[in-house]
């Protein structure tokens, strides 16, 4: 039954990737929802992955203690980076957050205890698959509830017109910092869960390329509801598997799908927006 084990192994990896990428897409969604463009999601994921791996490998702590702590580390970085950079808008914040990712990559490469270019291996595979999906479901639920509340309204208002939102009493700076922290929690969670299901992490897993991939999840899916970016992540995770027979032109097809989606579906594949209020008299 070697072929069956093989199959299970392959799909186990895919199942982990779908869950983890779903969380990463939500991490991107939270920032885009207030109109900010941050490319620090991969960096936050790396912080979660490395800090959780160190806690498991060096300190031998149990996974249930490691998981929450690995969300705290990226938040500390988000707070440190957020203070000075959240004054920046548009592409400038994106550049600053790419900088964070590159600096951290340099640190991972050059600090011995972080494994250098070889990365860290032998991480206990302590994250069960059900936990990954439970976390994803929880994240979708929380973002759905918050999105439908006054907080979601303020977030959408500030994405549409910052000046008007400010004049309505929305504390723009606080919302930006809070969403960056929420984004760091989700990415850190994804990093810790992925590190503890794949046994190995390396510095290049969290560089510029994954940062752009995470952005494309949300671009493809859309940001009308928390379901949209997850859908985008799932499609972009499945697509390379489905296109595997195409071999060399696989990445070309992958890119073409993104270009076509951005050109023809500017609001994403799932343009449906979560309803905040139902007209009275209609079935609720």
């Amino acid at each position: 039954m070697a072929w069956f084990d093989d199959l299970l192994f392959t799909y186990q990896n895919l199942a982990v990737a779908l869950g983890v990428n779903g969380l990463l897409a939500l991490s991107m969604y939270v920032v885009l929802a207030v109109g900010q463009l941050s490319l620090g999601q991969a960096a936050f994921m790396g912080l979660g992955a490395y800090s959780s791996a160190l806690m498991s490998l060096q300190l031998g702590w149990p996974f249930w203690a490691v998981l929450p702590l690995s969300c705290v580390v990226p938040v500390l970085f988000a707070l440190a980076v957020g203070g000075p950079t959240l004054r920046l808008n548009g592409v400038y914040l994106a550049i600053a957050t790419i900088g964070l990712g590159e600096v951290l990559r340099g640190v991972y490469l050059n600090v011995d205890v972080l494994g250098g270019a070889m990365g860290l291996s032998g991480i206990p595979e302590a994250a069960p698959l059900w936990l990954i999906y439970a976390m994803l479901a929880l994240a979708v639920l929380v973002l759905w509830q918050v999105g439908k509340s006054g907080i979601g309204r303020a977030m959408e208002a500030m994405r549409l017109d910052e000046t008007a939102a400010l004049s309505m009493g929305v504390n723009i700076r606080r919302y930006r910092l809070a969403t960056l922290c929420a984004s760091a929690v989700l990415a850190g969670l994804a990093g810790a869960l992925s590190a503890h299901s794949t046994d190995f992490i390396g510095p290049n897993d969290f560089g510029f390329e994954p940062a752009v991939t995470i952005l494309s999840f949300a671009l493809l899916g859309g940001i009308g509801s928390p379901f949209a970016p997850v859908l985008g992540a799932w499609l972009l995770t499945l697509l390379p598997e489905v296109l595997r027979p195409l071999a060399d032109v696989r990445l070309v097809m992958n890119g073409a799908v993104i270009v076509v989606a951005v050109l023809f579906l500017p609001r994403g594949l799932l343009a449906w927006r979560m309803p905040r209020h139902v007209r009275p008299g209609r079935a609720a």
Partner: protein, 261 residues
């Protein structure tokens, strides 16, 4: 005084947009800041609402010095405004726009929001009722579920007023509310502004349309080249030689004075 500015100035590089302006707006009534185009009216409004920071001078609101208070805190303190160029949240529903005006009044905790605790539900129901009342005030109650961007121009202007009024502000700032309106719409707007003032909200509006302001306001402040050149009742503004000169120019003012009986 509900709102007071003293020697308020704003410089843009070499340009003095607002020059040592003293403004005193009492509680209640309708007050106007008028002046020719480029007189500094909108800059003064941005200074008052906190979207611009003054180069010098002070602003106090309801007895509190708010010179350094950020715009969102001023909104929370009971100041609401509309914009000269419409700034409704176009892809949100009309009701959601009005609800945004209540932002400062909603303070549910995150756990209450996520678990939909009774406190959150009650606050949200209450907010919707207030938002609906604000929409009814401007006559948009039947459009609550329409997308704001799909409303006609005049309706978008009224939605901005509803959004500003939803939170029950003490001071409503209207930046050129009659811009782009026809005479019938202007008359309806004047009625609406009177109704707002009758509810107890103090109204401060910026306009360059003199006739619209004259019939509506209890007091008028006239700006020209960033300076205050007149403050007093509207009737006196019409007679004031400085104001006449600012509007029609020096030569014409002299000619007009010569023709006077």
């Amino acid at each position: 005084m509900l709102l007071q500015t003293s020697a308020l100035s704003r410089h843009f590089a070499g340009l003095v947009a607002v020059d040592r302006v003293d403004l005193a707006i009492p509680q209640g009534g309708i007050h106007a800041v008028i002046g020719p185009n480029g007189a500094g009216k909108t800059t003064l409004f941005n200074l008052i609402s906190g979207l611009a920071t003054p180069t010098a001078g002070q602003i106090s609101f309801a007895g509190q010095d708010i010179t350094l208070l950020p715009a969102d805190r001023r909104a929370q303190a009971g100041m609401a405004r509309t914009f000269q160029n419409i700034r409704v949240f176009a892809t949100m529903s009309v009701l959601d726009n009005a609800l945004t005006g209540l932002h400062a009044r909603l303070s549910a905790s995150l756990p209450a929001i996520i678990a939909r605790l009774p406190g959150f539900r009650r606050a949200e129901r209450d907010a919707i009722a207030r938002a609906q009342a604000a929409l009814a005030l401007v006559g948009l109650q039947d459009r609550a579920y329409t997308q704001a961007g799909a409303l006609a121009y005049g309706d978008q202007r009224r939605l901005e007023i509803a959004r500003a009024m939803a939170g029950g502000p003490r001071l409503l700032l209207l930046d050129e509310p009659a811009a782009g309106m026809n005479p019938a719409e202007r008359a309806a707007l004047a009625t609406l502004i009177r109704a707002i003032a009758a509810q107890g909200t103090t109204v401060l509006l910026v306009e360059h349309d003199m006739p619209f302001v004259m019939g509506l306001s209890d007091s008028v402040t006239v700006l020209n080249f960033g300076r205050r050149i007149f403050a007093g009742p509207p009737g006196a503004a019409r007679q004031d030689p400085g104001v006449i000169e600012a509007y029609i120019g020096h030569k014409a003012a002299v000619r007009l004075a010569g023709q006077a009986p």
